[in-house]
């Protein structure tokens, strides 16, 4: 990779073409994220993208940034370690509904507790795309998949309700067809201090559990009167049976991990040398 001048046109990698199927929702997200970086004027070398495994997990390949494409479900704790030691970097974490809510589902509550200052983007296509069409935690009940040939026998999760219960400080949902919505939400989320969650419905065209048309039908922007500081209201809309609401569900400024660690340890005051520490064991 060559040194890119600071007046880059795009953050997308010129050398690597996405491997996604034509029409995949992920393309839209890719360009929205590219636009977001432009809007925020980040230097490419200050961006770190950490992704999981899945079609969506390939995001880390397509940017001219520092990128880590780890194992299935572990993007979040990996990014947490990175951001803890490098608060100066802009850390973006990306993965799918399986990567994030199934194998990696246990990590979200804890990244939220730490309020680590990064943005986690989950691309929900309601299926395991990469492994070719098995049930994901958001495949609807009774839908037939390769691993549930007689219909899915599990309720699908309500991710927004879960994120609210985890007390995440920024929670929004949007769709891969809504470039404007994505740009505004991503920009806001990345600028939000502490952990932010951007949930994007990104249809799979090959195993189209929730096709574009259907998605369009059920999606509805959160009403104006929704107060993003009102958690109960957010729960109410998360639980809507009629609509899949999009927009910002919840927003709350909280001390970030970096701030807390600085504060709690009050490093400046108690700084010691190695030999001073050893002397304590005499």
């Amino acid at each position: 990779m060559k040194i890119i001048s600071q007046t880059f046109k795009t953050y997308k990698s010129a050398k690597i073409k996405p491997v996604w199927c034509p029409g995949c929702g992920d393309y839209g997200v890719l360009s929205a994220l590219d636009k977001t970086f432009k809007t925020l004027e980040f230097k490419p070398e200050d961006i770190a993208i950490v992704s999981g495994i899945g079609c969506s997990g390939r995001f880390s390949h397509y940017f001219n940034s520092y990128s880590l494409h780890g194992t299935h479900g572990r993007a979040l704790p990996t990014a947490t370690g990175l951001k803890t030691v490098r608060p100066d970097l802009n850390v973006i974490t990306i993965g799918g509904d399986g990567d994030g809510l199934s194998i990696g589902g246990g990590h979200i509550a804890h990244a939220a507790r730490k309020n680590v200052d990064l943005t986690y983007i989950i691309l929900d296509n309601n299926v395991y795309g990469m492994t070719k069409g098995q049930s994901s935690p958001t495949t609807p009940l009774d839908y037939k998949t390769k691993t549930a040939p007689y219909g899915v026998y599990e309720e699908s999760l309500n991710p927004i309700a879960m994120f609210l219960a985890y007390n995440i400080g920024y929670i929004a949902r949007t769709t891969s067809t809504d470039s404007k919505g994505m740009l505004s939400i991503l920009t806001e989320a990345i600028q939000h201090k502490g952990f932010s969650m951007v949930y994007i419905m990104s249809p799979c065209v090959t195993y189209s559990v929730l096709p574009y048309a259907k998605l369009k039908e059920i999606v509805k922007p959160l009403p104006e009167e929704h107060d993003t500081s009102d958690k109960l209201s957010a729960f109410k809309y998360a639980y809507s049976d009629e609509h899949m609401y999009t927009g910002v569900f919840y927003k709350e400024e909280k001390t970030s991990l970096d701030e807390r660690l600085k504060e709690v340890f009050n490093i400046a005051k108690i700084s010691k040398t190695t030999s001073e520490i050893m002397a304590e064991f005499k």
């Binding site: 060559k2 490419p44 880390s60 494409h69 704790p77 947490t80 370690g81 490093i267 520490i277 050893m278």
Partner: protein, 614 residues
């Protein structure tokens, strides 16, 4: 490390004390306070602890050895034993030396009156009740008794009591001080003999620390420049992470407790990608959970240090007991082929330096390094010489030549991660297929250094490529680094001891070093000479060195603390030898005596061989 010059062998002072009772009875605190007090004198101290997994009840003991020269093991037989209850007596009494001292509470313990030792029945529980109104202080009463026997001055002990119980309030401290006196007085009244007067000994040389093996890991990491740790509590490794949590922030580092071991190793991988030196401590159950991420670190070629403080297994097994049961997992524990390095420290002091070495190797060769200690090292406390902080040397980040030395008290090299030059950044290949296999790592934030680290097979740039030629090339590249490590290990000084010409050899790894060493001294004293090799580098092994050691050896004794002989399997595979395998699989470390017996048995066979050869 290295062939050592003749050790100072004769010691005038060499006492072993054991305090045994029930978990939660203060056995630990009694032993620890006593050991700490002795550690402030010029004597060497070495402690060994075993306690039950249960929160309450079960057999627990602390063994303390005091000596005027370096101590290598917990020793075999006890000079002075305190038992708090019947179970402790039953389980411990066979370890008491003939003629040794036995102190017991007649209210709780029936002893075999015919035993050949000095018996002191002292009702310490009742003394505690009489003094402070509760039996809970009996551990400090016992401390008082011991202070009388070994002539420990009370002001020092009182300060230690204050340090330990100060947070519980003045009343508790005062009660304990009273209990201490009551114990000493009782001992005096009954006429317990004072064996020595430690209060007269020189104060400790300023240059010694009294630390556990686990603390040695934490301090070694800090000295090596590690500034990040992510962990999850797991007996018997937990105190490493606790110590790091306390001290890392003081040197500008950070620790985060994660939700599990997978998250912990993921976080250190992320932080290593960010450019920091990182460590995560665990034990066998946790190491297993880390397997997938260890492979990832090998594939991403990121330096990480993992500590496995081995415990009894399999599964939850014997959480508070020792075993050398994880070696094969450390070496082979990954699906697919991912290079890594395994180091096995031999004792508390060595743990400190091997930890520094682990960081050096990880940073230089860009792969996971597993430090394989065990409960017996981790919980063992010993006096350790303070390193010379003027003798720490940084290896430059662009330096690709320096032969890094094995760290020791006199010289510590600190490897810095290799970074790409300006020139290399012009067409930056993160995974450049170099001669050594080592390719410089760009630190995020460096313009032009952007790259993709992916667990998929990739080309030199990091771009995924699953073609047959590429996979072969990159697999070779990753393993070429391991060949470099091998070469480096061969260049290290031989880790052998004893007469290099005799026909009986003994080999071990990790925490058995001290017991084997003392067994060798005992054997030599009994007229049987053996040579001893104890490689610190388990994988890759310094094969030529070991071959040299094995050359012309007639009998090889291979000592390890597990059932199946994991190291033996390894050695047989590499060298085609047929060792006499001495295993112990009981959750307890070998005593020198047990190994000495094995040596003597082999010596008799060797003798018979000679006879038939005539």
């Amino acid at each position: 490390m290295g062939k050592i010059s003749k050790p100072k062998l004769k010691s005038k002072i060499d006492f072993i004390i054991r305090v045994a009772g029930e978990g939660g009875e203060g056995v630990m605190s009694c032993g620890e306070l006593f050991a700490k007090a002795v550690a402030r004198t010029s004597y060497h101290v070495f402690t060994f602890i075993t306690y039950p997994t249960e929160m309450k009840g079960g057999y627990a003991m602390t063994q303390i050895r005091i000596r005027d020269i370096t101590i290598y093991s917990m020793g075999s037989f006890v000079d002075c034993m305190v038992v708090f209850n019947q179970e402790a007596y039953d389980k411990s009494i066979s370890s008491l030396k003939e003629g040794g001292i036995l102190i017991y509470d007649p209210e709780f313990t029936k002893i075999d009156e015919s035993g050949n030792f000095v018996k002191y029945p002292i009702p310490f529980s009742q003394i505690s009740v009489d003094t402070i109104g509760r039996a809970l202080g009996k551990n400090v009463v016992v401390l008082g008794i011991l202070s009388h026997i070994y002539g420990l001055a009370h002001p020092g002990l009182e300060k230690l009591i204050n340090d330990r119980y100060g947070s519980k309030g003045k009343k508790v401290v005062e009660g304990n001080i009273k209990a201490l006196k009551a114990g000493a007085d009782a001992a005096k009244t009954i006429g317990v003999t004072t064996i020595m007067d430690l209060s007269k000994s020189e104060p400790a040389n300023e240059e010694y620390m009294f630390i556990s093996g686990n603390q040695a890991v934490a301090l070694g990491a800090i000295a090596a420049g590690c500034r990040f740790s992510a962990g999850y509590p797991l007996t018997p490794s937990t105190s490493i992470f606790e110590t790091l949590s306390k001290f890392l922030p003081l040197v500008g580092g950070r620790t985060i407790q994660m939700e599990d071991e997978i998250a912990a190793i993921s976080a250190v991988i992320g932080a290593s990608f960010g450019g920091e030196k990182v460590i995560t401590p665990t034990s066998g159950p946790g190491l297993q959970l880390m397997a997938e991420q260890m492979s990832l670190a090998s594939m991403l070629e990121l330096p990480i240090v993992i500590v496995d403080v081995q415990r009894g297994g399999p599964s939850t097994g014997l959480p508070t007991k020792t075993e050398q049961g994880d070696m094969k997992f450390a070496v082979y524990g990954s699906a697919g082929e991912s290079p890594r390095i395994i180091l096995a420290p031999t004792g508390v002091e060595d743990t400190f330096y091997q930890t520094i070495r682990a960081f050096n190797l990880a940073e230089k060769y860009q792969m996971p390094v597993i430090l394989l200690t065990d409960q017996s090292i981790g919980y063992r406390k010993a006096t350790v010489k303070m390193p010379d902080f003027n003798k720490i040397f940084m290896v430059d980040q662009f330096d690709r030549k320096t032969k890094v030395k094995i760290p020791n008290a006199e010289h510590i090299d600190l490897v810095q991660r290799q970074i790409p030059t300006e020139d290399e950044l012009k067409n930056y290949k993160r995974y450049k297929n170099t001669k050594t296999g080592i390719s410089p790592i760009a630190r995020p934030g460096t313009p032009g250094g952007q790259y993709l680290a992916t667990g998929l097979e990739h080309d030199e740039y990091g771009k995924t490529n699953q073609g047959p030629e590429n996979h072969l090339m990159m697999s070779k590249k990753r393993f070429r680094k391991l060949e470099q490590v091998s070469l480096a290990f061969e260049r290290n000084p031989m880790e052998t001891y004893g007469d290099p010409h005799v026909q009986i050899g003994i080999m071990g790894w990790g925490s058995t070093e001290g017991a084997i060493r003392e067994a060798r001294y005992l054997a030599e004293a009994a007229g049987v000479k053996v040579r001893h090799i104890h490689p610190h580098t388990i994988s890759p092994l310094p094969e030529q060195q070991i071959s040299k050691f094995l050359h012309r050896l007639k009998h090889l004794i291979l000592v390890e603390e597990n059932l199946t002989g994991q190291f033996a399997h390894f050695i047989k595979a590499k060298f085609g030898v047929k060792p006499i395998e001495v295993h112990k699989c009981e959750g307890m470390p070998f005593t020198p005596d047990e190994i000495f017996n094995a040596i003597m048995k082999v010596a008799r066979i060797a003798d018979e061989d000679n006879i038939t050869n005539i």
